[in-house]
Symmetry: C5
Subunit: 87 residues, 5 copies
């Protein structure tokens, strides 16, 4: 999983029916040293600026009520930026 | 998922039967700081220059009427480039 | 799999029920030449500073008692930093 | 999927039975700005220098007659290098 | 798949039962222009310095006698470094 910050939302009027009902967020990976951003589906209600835990890949299907072409999903709200101890 | 721009089409006369009937688009990832391009299947009818939402990996199979060796698929047309708020 | 060092923990009060009961660790990949960090679930009891073996992707589901949106998991404690023989 | 050029072949006398019967090609990703090469299985009969469409990940299993530890497969011959329109 | 060179072994006394019985090797990807190393399970008996063909992702499960949290596996010994023809 990654820890990311919600930096935007995606508006898509014409899309697959199975992904409707999900909010689509642009998330920036905070654990990467590159500028890595991607779109994650959200049903928890995360907002711009919040820190989120995002799962990717086929594991995402286990969090959906029906199969959908979604490969990244917000699975938690992170309470605070983790205290990372460098070597 | 990623947000990409359709920058080309792929013509392949000799290909697996199960991927016939899909348009094959070259998509450039707009959320990456590297020049990242890949081929996505499309049944929505996206055209050159359009912004699309693309799902990747095994989740793609949930959007197909029959299993096929397709690992990236256009699942939505994005209405406008997302307003991304930097830190 | 990767060998990583545990460099932090993640606190998430609001999260999917199926990932509760797992400790969430920030792991730094020791086999990469880039600074690559990610979040892995742990049930072995790894602590800050320890070397761990982490599996990623759908294989992780085979280590869970029930399906969960978890894409990286600590599957072993590594006894010592591997002796890597350069060419 | 990616578009790649076949740049080599792999000879492996001792290998898993389930991957025998597949030709193993070294393919260079033409859509990447980095030098990205990987090994793909082929049953179409692609040759050195040809442009191919390659699918990766679990979707590959849908193109096999029996499950096999193969994560990349040639699924089409590309007629010509795609005309990519830069922004 | 990738072609890699075995550059080390991993010793992990405390690990998931389902990965016991597999040798764990550190493999360096020979097809990448970055220093990319990872851990692969091995039941063929590859040794330090040998060239191996490694499959990754969910395809690995098809090579196991029982499901296990293993995401990379040696599936062949490569006879010789492939002759790669640059453009």
């Amino acid at each position: 999983m990654v820890i990311g910050k919600v930096v935007g939302t995606v508006v898509s009027t014409r899309k697959y029916e199975s992904i409707q009902g999900h909010k689509l967020l642009v998330v920036e990976n905070l654990l990467s040293d590159r500028k890595e951003r991607f779109v994650a589906a959200d049903r928890i209600g995360a907002g711009i600026g919040q820190l989120v835990l995002v799962a990717t890949g086929s594991a995402v299907q286990t969090a959906l009520s029906q199969p959908a072409p979604i490969d990244a999903m917000v699975v938690g709200i992170v309470d605070q930026e983790p205290d990372i101890r460098a070597e």
